[in-house]
């Protein structure tokens, strides 16, 4: 595996399966009374989060602690970025204290790439701007495999703000690599250029996307999007693209409903769907720890010489 995990493109198909299989073993650690193994003992991992995040950061932190690593959380307020140190300087200062890994979440696409050119530490991308969120896609795949036993040939519908979603990009890359049939759907104003070149089906009809779907993945709608005139109102968005029980009924009877969180109930997803029998949203969260443990463990080995 490569030194850093910045994008799903950094992983081969075999790498992906290795991570998923390793996550199985890691999940078992979380089921023990003593949820700890000494594997990364003495390793220092810095969680450098430029965007606020409870879910992802906590998930990484638990994963790191379960592997006995020493963790350091740095939550950077946006204003200090504007007033003070550049990302590069912050990273170099951290690097001087020799961490083994930096888990980075940042508002700018490509922030991890910038750091990986400068730092010796391994960089794990925990979400960069609109670009990618690789560990989210990995835990999504893990969850799907848990329920469906396989990924290839499944119809996966991803619905929502496609343009701004890093979860979308990572999932599209990962699911197509594993042979799933991916449909994406959202308002025309939120479809990125060139989506059709990724080997997926693009439609502005959410009903078409979810028809006979095995998996429905909902993406967050950010309320601020209305400022950019992407859609007229929350009400209209919910009517045209919201995941309701009626829409879910068009999918396969054993469909699973997923969401990377945090949810906007009544915006992209109806409450009764979020809490309903098809929802695996909370399991995604639980699986996140196991998958991140797997990623940390696998990246902690010495990187291969030829890359």
């Amino acid at each position: 595996m490569k030194k850093d995990l910045l994008s799903i493109n950094d992983l081969t198909r075999d790498d992906i399966y290795l991570i998923l299989d390793t996550a199985e073993a890691m999940r078992e650690v979380g089921e023990r009374p003593i949820k700890k193994v000494p594997t990364l003992r003495g390793r220092t991992i810095v969680n450098l989060f430029y965007e606020p995040s409870t879910r992802t950061r906590t998930s990484f932190e638990i994963a790191e602690k379960r592997l006995s690593a020493d963790t350091l959380n740095i939550a950077v307020a946006t204003s200090s970025v504007l007033k003070g140190e550049t990302l590069v300087d912050t990273a170099l200062n951290i690097e001087a204290m020799a961490p083994d890994m930096i888990v980075l979440r940042h508002a700018s696409s490509g922030a991890g790439h910038l750091l990986s050119r400068i730092c010796r530490s391994r960089i794990i991308n925990a979400g960069d701007g609109m670009h990618e969120h690789p560990t989210q896609a990995l835990l999504d795949a893990f969850t799907i495999r848990e329920h469906k036993k396989r990924l290839d040939g499944l119809k996966v519908a991803i619905v929502g703000d496609l343009l701004h979603s890093r979860v979308l990009r990572s999932n599209v890359l990962l699911l197509t690599t594993l042979g799933a049939c991916v449909w994406v759907s959202g308002p025309a104003t939120l479809v990125p250029r060139g989506m059709d070149q990724l080997g997926i089906r693009v439609t502005t009809s959410v009903d078409e996307a979810v028809a006979d779907a095995d998996v429905i993945m909902m993406l967050r709608i950010q309320q601020e999007r209305m400022q950019g005139a992407y859609f007229p109102s929350i009400r209209e968005y919910f009517t045209t693209f919201g995941m309701t029980r009626e829409r879910v009924a068009r999918a396969k009877p054993d469909v699973i409903i997923m969401h990377p969180g945090p949810m906007n109930r009544g915006v992209e997803i109806a409450s009764d769907v979020a809490d309903g029998p098809y929802s695996v949203i909370l399991q995604q969260v639980a699986n996140g720890v196991a998958v991140r443990m797997a990623v940390l463990y696998l990246l902690a080995g010495e990187p291969e010489v030829a890359d």
């Binding site: 390793t22 009374p33 193994v37 902690a300 291969e304």
Partner: protein, 177 residues
């Protein structure tokens, strides 16, 4: 490569060990077998089966992957991490007499890792060690309680235990590296 034990000898060794277990431990009530992955696991199952055949009692059996506890994990040469397999111990180990099972006892480091892992699972009353082959060259103060065969070896040799369940045949081989 030369064969040191054939299928028949292995089978008789396991039978002998099973009787020894019953002899040293009064009954099988608080016994549990835990095989160390990978080949310790089928050996543990076979012993459980043989024990059942003798005194008609079921003995709990589990599988332990010690990869995460190895002391050489971050020190190995350039290359990918070793593969982890699942640990499955579907019973409480508290107050039990645990019989750890492995195929070959060599430096003792694997057993040390297994002991560390078990302590994280609970507090057993006692831990005993069963191995098919003890090839000497201990680096830690570890000893086996039940041994299929003592096999003096030199450091340049390697010992392979093949099992029907994994390798398609039962055989112990010694090989010059």
């Amino acid at each position: 490569m030369s064969q040191v034990m054939d299928a028949d000898r292995m089978s008789r060794a396991l039978t002998r060990i099973s009787h020894e277990i019953l002899e040293r431990n009064r009954g099988t009530d608080d016994l549990a077998l835990i095989g160390i992955r990978t080949r310790g696991v089928p050996l543990a199952r076979r012993i459980a089966h043989t024990l059942h055949g003798i005194n008609h009692e079921e003995v709990h059996t589990g599988a332990l992957d010690i990869t995460l506890y190895r002391d050489d994990l971050m020190r190995h040469a350039v290359g990918p991490q070793p593969l982890i397999r699942k640990t499955e111990i579907p019973f409480s180990i508290d107050d039990k007499r645990i019989l750890l099972v492995d195929d070959v006892l060599y430096t003792g480091r694997t057993i040390r890792a297994a002991l560390d892992a078990l302590i994280d699972f609970g507090r057993p009353k006692a831990i005993q060690l069963i191995v098919m082959v003890d090839r000497g060259h201990r680096e830690l103060p570890i000893k086996a309680d039940y041994v299929g065969k003592n096999l003096p070896t030199s450091l340049s040799q390697s010992v392979q235990v093949h099992l029907q369940e994994i390798d398609g045949r039962d055989e112990v081989e010694i090989q010059e590296s």
